[in-house]
Symmetry: C2
Subunit: 139 residues, 2 copies
Amino acid sequence: MSDLGTRLRAAGRRLTPQRQQVLDLVEQLGHATPEQIVEAAPATDAAPMALSTVYRSLEALQELGLVTHTHVDHRVPSYHLTTHATHIHVVCRDCGCVDEAPADVAEEFVARLDRSLGFEADVTHAAIHGLCRTCRKQS
Amino acid sequence: MSDLGTRLRAAGRRLTPQRQQVLDLVEQLGHATPEQIVEAAPATDAAPMALSTVYRSLEALQELGLVTHTHVDHRVPSYHLTTHATHIHVVCRDCGCVDEAPADVAEEFVARLDRSLGFEADVTHAAIHGLCRTCRKQS
DNA sequence: TTGAATGCAAAAAATTTGCATATTG
DNA sequence: CAATATGCAAATTTTTTGCATTCAA
């Protein structure tokens, strides 16, 4: 993977400190909502990083295929690196906890979707909802 | 499945024409956003059905386990009957088309999540994103 | 220098909440 | 009659947009 600047320029866009920082923060946080990103951004720097900039940066990074997002919490999107997308998100509808499973547990599933619909699924993009081990016992 | 009124009362709630209508509309529309439900509701009736009522009704119906929702369009939730949830939603990130696959294509996947995490997945609740057959060829 | 990107504030969307009134059981 | 629901409007929350200014290439 070439570096961020090269990729952005190839797409007729530019590398700015904000974009670099958004990417860094997504990587560092693992999963992050736009809100969490501004919060984590050191306002000590020159600019305080506007929320709208974060939205626009994420959009750009997503277009480049560097990040994707998932709806862990049913409302706000949570972004993560595509290279980090080697796992599936599993969210408990009772306690709200989020767990991860290696992406290969979905291999067979993805293959079947391909066979039956010709659909190329990106499971790492989806949050699977259900009941976690603990909440399951209680209900 | 007992009828709506009985279920609601068992939960200490009441059966109102609005709730009945919301349920009917979800069934009739297959998948519907709160917005689509008010639009589809015949305002000709006594009340015009407030959007907030739709939200509250869906919440109640969801609590009863009669409906669930999915994030087909990344932002607005789309509701459907749980009894109708025998298929998986597959959304193309390019053209935005929504296709369905029978729930059993995920059987193995669900079994594996159970084995590895003890997680009871509800795949019919998830929208799987990716590329449809057509868009796949074009890229 | 030139177009793209930022910040800020205002505009849109999408949901939620407060409260007086109507309705169900 | 008592408690739950509704409708409406106002308040939140989340995301997008317009625009003057700044900055990358």
